[in-house]
Amino acid sequence: MVEVRDLTKNYGKFTALQNVTFSVGKGQVIGLLGPNGAGKTTTMKILTTFMPQCAGSAVIGGNDTRVNPMEVRRMVGYLPESNPLNLEVTVLEALHFVAKIRGIAPKERSKAVAKIVDMCRLQSVQKKVIGQLSKGFRQRVGLAQAMIHDPQVLVLDEPTSGLDPNQIADMLNLIKELGRDKTVIHSTHILAEAEDTCDRVLILSRGVLVADSHPAKLARNAQGHQMVLRIENSNPEMAQKLSTLDWVQNTEQYGDLWHLYSSEKRDMGKELAEFCRVQNWLVSELAYKEPNLEQVFAHLTRRGDAQ
């Protein structure tokens, strides 16, 4: 559905995107992750034809964004960053306007508007002026505007920023629901969001794509797997013994609690329990910890800082 190849964008001397390549299949929900200034918004502006790239190509549903921008715009729904809205008009007026520009026939317009109002749960505020609405409702108005023509591809730039936890949960559920028959690309810098809504995450750092994977897989393949171990009556000499295990890279002791950093990307519980039994240590707690997405993210996006 979305094919991005060697996308490059410079703002003067600053390189915002550098040879970014990825493709998104139909009905996938993609999370675009990265620290601020990593190129998420730039990517989205190019995909929605708001801005032309310097090199490379972006093709949506067979239409190149630079060759056939009008076709791309018909297929794509876009919620820009910070959700700009005309504050003086009512929700219904705003939606009718977009429907008109989108060329939805007059007969079907009211139906389309009613459907989207229902879907985004805007019934209670549909006759209100947008400027009087709370942030959560405004965000839903922005989303409704982006979806009124039932687009195949939705591009949402930080759809959850500034919302309270309940609103974030609502928005994510909506995105998940939409993802059943639409291709959704949404950006965020909250990793937990991506973890349970996305089929795939793309991580950008300084304009370069540093990861493209399923969130769980990303964590599994990363460095930093740990075994957490509680040994009754621990003493510091145990550290040396534990280090003799060839998969233990590093040990940390917090009283009776031990953190062992493992080079193996799997649960080493059995081996560890066996080792402790041989040593005659009383193990009261044993757990395996995968690195979380935050650690993966920090690892991937800080690499650039060191250079």
Binding site: F50, R73, R74, P80, P84, L85, N86, K100
Partner: protein
């Protein structure tokens, strides 16, 4: 037809947006008060003993100088300031359609403003014998000149995200355009530079290209095809520039 519909939808929304808040009414009151005030008080209508609107139309460029930038300053700059330009220009709407939509809305507002001044010819026709043909022709000319002013205001509005900057800059550009062809300016130039033989050609060209020159004919109630073509060309060139600017601004 399908290409016109989005243009009209945009024009309709823009036109309406002036009247959602009181700001549109304020502009209308300002226009009517200023044009009539200048005509009846400054132009000494009551001492002239003549039933003619020539004085009124003669003042009009100076009223337009403030009025047109006032109502056109926000057309693009507000979209840019708020960021709504991003939603607008990612709709299936070409730059030409967007510019035309905005321009048509401005023309609508201009027509409405001129319609609000119909009390003047009506009053004159009650006290004496008004030449309605010449008056209506002048109104047509006033509309054409307003269109040229508006095209300038619209273009300048697309240069900035700040409405006040757009307002001041529009006034400046329009002032220069008025002065270029102003009779006193032309006279000054031709006397000062009379010794330069090629200069008479320059002066002639300047006086032709000025906004006022063409409107001078029209305010007398004479419609010359050349003046109509002049306005159309000015409008077309400015709108074209506007489209070009929107396209190049996408690169930033």
């Amino acid at each position: 037809m399908n290409r016109i519909r989005p243009v009209l939808a945009l024009a309709q929304r823009e036109l309406r947006s002036w009247f959602i808040t009181p700001v549109g009414y304020v502009y209308l009151v300002f226009f009517v008060a200023l044009s009539n005030g200048l005509f009846f008080v400054l132009n000494r209508f009551f001492d002239m003993g003549q039933v003619s609107m020539r004085g009124w139309f003669g003042m009009l460029p100076w009223v337009y100088l403030f009025f047109v930038p006032a109502f056109s300053m926000g057309l693009w700059s507000e979209e840019k300031g708020r960021g709504t330009i991003e939603t607008l220009l990612t709709l299936p709407l070409s730059e030409w359609q967007a510019v035309l939509g905005k321009f048509l809305a401005g023309l609508g507002f201009l027509a409405l403003s001129l319609a609000c001044t119909f009390t003047v010819p009506y009053t004159l026709s009650q006290v004496g014998n008004l030449d309605w043909g010449a008056t209506l022709a002048s109104y047509f000319g006033a509309f054409l000149m307003g269109a040229a002013f508006l095209a300038v205001g619209l273009l300048v509005s697309s240069l900035t995200r700040n409405q006040v900057v757009a307002f001041i800059l529009s006034i400046t550009v329009l002032f220069v355009m008025i002065m270029i062809g102003h009779p006193q300016m032309i006279m000054m130039l031709s006397t000062h530079f009379a010794h330069l033989s090629f200069f008479s050609g320059v002066v002639h060209w300047l006086s032709w290209s000025g906004l006022i020159t063409h409107f001078g004919n029209i305010s007398r109630g004479v419609i010359d095809t050349r003046d109509v073509i002049y306005s159309a060309v000015v409008v077309f060139v400015l709108l074209h520039l506007n489209v070009h600017l929107l396209r190049t601004q996408r690169w930033k």
